[in-house]
Symmetry: D2
Subunit: 448 residues, 4 copies
């Protein structure tokens, strides 16, 4: 998971603070590294580091990034590769001059591309997909960087949204199936790109439209141009953006994420009507779907669990004495709300099952008479090859147990997962989806 | 605002990690300093510092705090006095041996006490009220620390909850009117004290009862003893605990805070029925009252504003470029939810009015047709002398403007503040309240 | 070991940066904490912390210390008491108003004083001797702070140099025997006090004279006044200041420290003439005495050991792999210089013997034919009760072994310690000395 | 300026702590970044960062570097390029597999190489010369990495010492003229490479010999092999290593650096006999030459200046109040030593002249009757193109002023620079030197 940002504006605009704000608004997409590359139209100025945006940047480092064009990135590192060398954006110099690039998503033919590039004399200094794209570009025979980018794009398989920048132009590119999101926006004096509309509106800019699947958008002094790199009508937008990833105030294809999640809740209520007293979300991620479930079912929505707002990455490693507290560090039941009640508990997904089991135990200890678990997504059974960092299948509880076994493991009175059909219905009108994590039906070639 | 904690347990219990957890659960009461003093029954081990609990402590510092008895504190510093010297708990040695103390609240006769103590030869090394209490104790003629504490207590005027510890005993004390909260709990192998029940349940302990106004609780190897220091039937519990300060999962006099806030919302809906389309809370503090308002009024409750979960103290100081964003750093409207709608916006209070004005402008820009402001407390007009850190009257918008002037300042279509009667009704059964911040009716002597 | 500083100057002088510089020049006297208290003549502004002066202070913290009067301190913490609460200066308020105090040295009647103070109602918040002095002052019946200080001084036994400050005056005080040093200096627009002349000259000021044993110096708007608190002619200046503690460019009673150490070397050469090829110091502390030895003996002085200039407190804890290197982390032989040579190695003292043994082994491995050890002080056998932090007698190699046993332990071809008579001769004209660490002859009452 | 290190050892050897120690011993060659790459024979583990070795590494980061083969680097960043991206070692993957590289020195044909590489499709991600070497290697048509390295070496012009590593081999390479140093050593269970012998002896290993100018040394499981890449008999070893750069305990071509500096002092005494009272070094760099001068001239060597051992990079930026102190922050005269004396002051070089002028003024204020300046190198007039970071010619005082003008600027009674002939004589037997910084006689092509 990552968030990307790009901006091309008039010289009067200072891109670094705006970029900082945009990365800040995309922070939920990646909390392990943050970086900005900014240019005034000649050299690239860069700053990146491990940590949250607010940890990596301060006024002093922003002040060293003059210029009105920028790209930025917030990211998760793939496990074990958390050195800043792999943090994005990357920047490099080639026959096209200086350039910077950042990517959200993942290439499924990474291994093939790396081998081919190494065979043809490439020196790979990171393990990022972004570097592979730059290497493919310089290997193109084309004279112009834009044509070289087009050549490179043809080699890529996977789900990706790319922002790249040379001193005089910004480009954005989305994979042919539009698996990963990328949005174009307009601000006073320029244009911008971002993974979500929330990053655009957060700096007072206006979303214009989504970059199309397979589209290359080029922004320079003359405005915005577009090229279709692939001519297909198939789409496969990542369903996990709807369920979990995107921020509630973002819009995807014109539909607000919060409202889509409410709709998912409504579908769930129709799929699984329950005779219970109260609907409780697992905060914060399933608040929207619980509201929808409650409205549709006509059952009161209640705050049965409170989240500690100070839970952070700096929390001490569990010691013998604190390990016993488990999820209690983070979530706390409101006893009066759940005591003696038949509860339906909503959550967006069940991954390993441990947290869910603990929450249910906590609700029972708080006096809940029944706890029915309703999950706002189908059983999570397959790995994602498009950039979502998920446990191995062996760790995914639904990939090795039946639903009844899961129910017993989490000790719920009943357990219902959203059906794939229900999910598609809830996001109806939003085109075809990638639901491989639930179905194993990958829309591209995948490794192995 | 501060949070206090105390524990007296069997030698098998390790108090430091439990104290850490309890302070963590009280973090909302004070974010500028944290400290623990722990003892095995002989010397006191102490660690404190400026910052959040998770910043001040780590495994190494907790490991240096062996013992099964502890007191702890999270606090705000009074302005300009943020040196760690003033962080609590304090610890000192006197003719009674070593002792530690921490306090939530404020003495209104601080100035008089300081002068009297200085006149009688005291050396004051901090500006805390806790030090005054220790100094009063050592000036008592009584032989036992308990009697000395009783003597000291008689000198105190104000709202306070105190925890104090010697190597062989823990005491808790609450002001005669019970302005500030203090709760007694039981854990396996011992007892504990805390500002809120949430800190008790968060470590798997059970709340037993509130320490009574004017009560001194002594916990030692023989169990829990109680002394009534004052024999009055007047009570004046801080109403701001209900409205804003306490955590939603805490219980005050047997009533859950979230449900009381919902009830406040219901009273508001009856006081001010509005013909609108949607009820929107200002997250996170007015979610409960907005739910109550919506239920009572039969108007849909909706998520119209999203809060950035990564807003923290490390955010960059606003520069020329970021200052323009104001509240947009933190709150974001969901356009689809508010567009074309007549909105009632709930908030727990209006202090300076700046944030409220910005949120309303943001909602209007997002397309709200009407924005009606409903405040879950009466107009905030008077300073608190009991430990709540509030702006000067000159900064409190309601103390220098009429309601209509405030409405115009924040540009709301209408503005309603909860009536004092309504507030009292909502917390009915919870005894008499201190509502001086709304009424100027202070339940004790106050300075000036 | 500690260093103290005081300044009283015209309003045009900014005391904080000068105090910073002075503490910086006194850093060799204490590396664990640093602090400054500054006043413009009303309130005291203070900043202190654990670490080196350059770590505790920066431009921002200095800027928050306005005023032209100041005291400061750099210190070692007594073992286990390294919390900032014990860092000096201390500041407090009493019936005399605000005051700050800092001390170099140690009271030998600390225990008695603490007990007496506790009995009379004192609340002790630190374990410093400075606090005891303030407590004694406020317990005096005298009206003026100066007379109260005189009363307090009469209770003190030990070796100490004190600087203290109220908003309108600076005082310096030295113990009756002058065990610890304190110097008065003059700068443009004011006066200053410091543990060593090096701190005075380092800020461009001029040393005026030493504060006399048992003298109280008062500096205020009217200039410098002096009071003799004790009328004795005995003196007992700490001989360790000459041997190790004071900086080479400081002067003690008009004699330069470097030249005194050279003279010690000369005395050693006369006490122990050796037929060797080269004289080698253990850098940096015995460079001066080795120069003196070489000159007197007519044997070449050479650099046989090089010190790594980057050795610091941040060096990694030895691991299984690095522990083997021992002193090699810090000192390196120059092989060509020592190979095949008969070497006399100078050092200021032998404490535990471990380092010396390692250095001698290193020199032998580098090819030295003979290594004769000459120590610029008598055998270190007794603890210091006047503020020098030394190991317990059990750890002092000379207190439990004969000289021959020490020689065998360190594997030297011969071993000579400076005689006590030789030491006294070398510092001749510098009055009577405290040499209790070598002789056990303590000039005051000591505990136990 | 940089320091490099390499090690290839048996699996029983843990390379990371030894590499840490070696970098620590090379710290004087570069204080802005430090890095290690270690391998067990398969993947490369790497850690680097900005700062001193002891700041960049701790036990935790060393523990993540398992393996018995390693290379390391400490470096200065070229101005403005202080991002960690440019810190060395670099690591990358190519058709030869994973590799790491680090370099001390500088290529004079960097610009030409960069352009040629960019033209042929290289993607340059740093501004280091190390990356250029890797890029040249992968562009070679040779199958083996060793032959590719030979191909690459043929393209390089400049002064450089390179260490590089693949999982199964370590290589070292020195420029054809041997401008920069590189030494081969043997440790129990393996071999090592380092910029100086001090790094070898500091870990208990033995120097074997210098890598020859133009030699490629290959170390693998089968031992050490050597290839001569260039067949010339010209040599041009950097004279600045003798004068300033190398540590005093290092040996260059079998001669100890301290003793060579003493010999320089002797030559100076013969070139410029002076009728003075005392010889004073500027500590620490000219201690050796001052000792030689004093011995040869028969004039007493004295410690007239003391250096503050706590001067570090963390010192506060000079403010209006501290700026006046200038060099007084760092150096302090011993008045008694210089008062009334005719002094000869030694220093290794005069760069801008500011510090020298300040030191002379300080000595005069301390009472020196005459101050004669003697410089242990010829006038510094030309930039270094081989890796020594020196000011621009415009800033070099000797490149724009006559010797008499310099004397007047620094206010010395007389001024003598070592003659180039004298310098060559002092290092006699050490082969031909690069003295371009004094003569402008560059031994290779240089830019411009």
């Amino acid at each position: 998971m990552s968030g990307v940002f790009g901006m091309f504006a008039d010289p009067s605009v200072s891109a670094a603070p705006l970029g900082y704000m945009a990365l800040y608004a995309l922070q939920h997409r990646g909390q392990e590294s943050a970086g900005l590359v900014v240019t005034e139209g000649d050299v690239l100025h860069a700053h990146k580091g491990m940590g949250l945006t607010s940890e990596v940047f301060d006024d002093a480092s922003l002040a060293k990034l003059p210029g009105s064009h920028a790209i930025g990135h917030v990211g998760y590192s793939r496990s074990g590769e958390n050195h800043v060398t792999n943090a994005e954006p990357l920047w490099a110099t080639s026959r096209f001059g200086p350039a910077a690039i950042a990517l959200d998503g993942s290439l499924t033919n990474r291994k093939v591309l790396r081998e081919r590039l190494l065979d043809t004399g490439a020196l790979l200094q990171t393990t990022t997909d972004s570097e592979l794209i730059l290497q493919l570009m310089v290997r193109s025979r084309k004279e112009s960087p834009e044509e070289a980018m087009v050549d490179a794009a043809k080699e890529l398989i996977g789900g990706y949204a790319v922002v790249a920048m040379t001193p005089d132009r910004l480009v954005g590119m989305r994979d042919p199936l539009g698996i990963r999101p990328l949005v174009l926006g307009r601000l006073e004096g320029g244009h911008m790109l971002a993974s979500e509309t929330a990053a655009i509106t957060s700096i007072g800019a206006e979303p214009v439209r989504e970059v199309e699947p397979g589209e290359l958008v080029i922004i320079d002094r003359n405005g915005v141009r577009s090229r279709r790199l692939f001519d297909r009508d198939r789409r496969a937008f990542c369903v996990f953006e709807y369920i979990y990833l995107a921020r509630q105030d973002s819009e995807i294809e014109g539909h607000n994420v919060h409202l889509i999640r409410k709709e998912i809740g409504r579908v769930l209520a129709r799929e699984r009507p329950l005779d219970v007293d109260v609907v409780i979300p697992t905060p914060d991620s399933s608040v929207s779907s619980a509201m929808g479930y409650a409205e549709e079912a006509g059952i009161p929505y209640e705050m049965g669990l409170v989240k500690n707002r100070y839970v952070g990455r700096t929390f001490i490693q569990p010691t013998q004495a604190t390990r016993q507290f488990g999820v209690r560090l983070k979530l706390h039941p409101i006893r009066t709300v759940v005591k003696g009640k038949r509860v339906v508990l909503l959550d967006d997904s069940i991954v390993r099952g441990t947290t869910t089991a603990n929450v249910i135990r906590m609700l029972r200890e708080a006096g809940a008479k029944e706890v029915h678990m309703v999950v706002a997504s189908p059983p999570f059974t397959h790995p994602c090859h498009y950039g979502i960092d998920v446990p191995t299948p062996a760790e995914l509880i639904a990939s090795r147990r039946t639903i009844e076994e899961v129910r017993r493991h989490i000790d719920a009175d009943s357990l219902h997962y959203l059906s794939l059909e229900g999910l598609q219905k809830a996001v109806e009108g939003n085109g075809r989806l990638c639901h491989a994590c639930f179905s194993g039906d990958y829309p591209t070639e995948v490794p192995g």
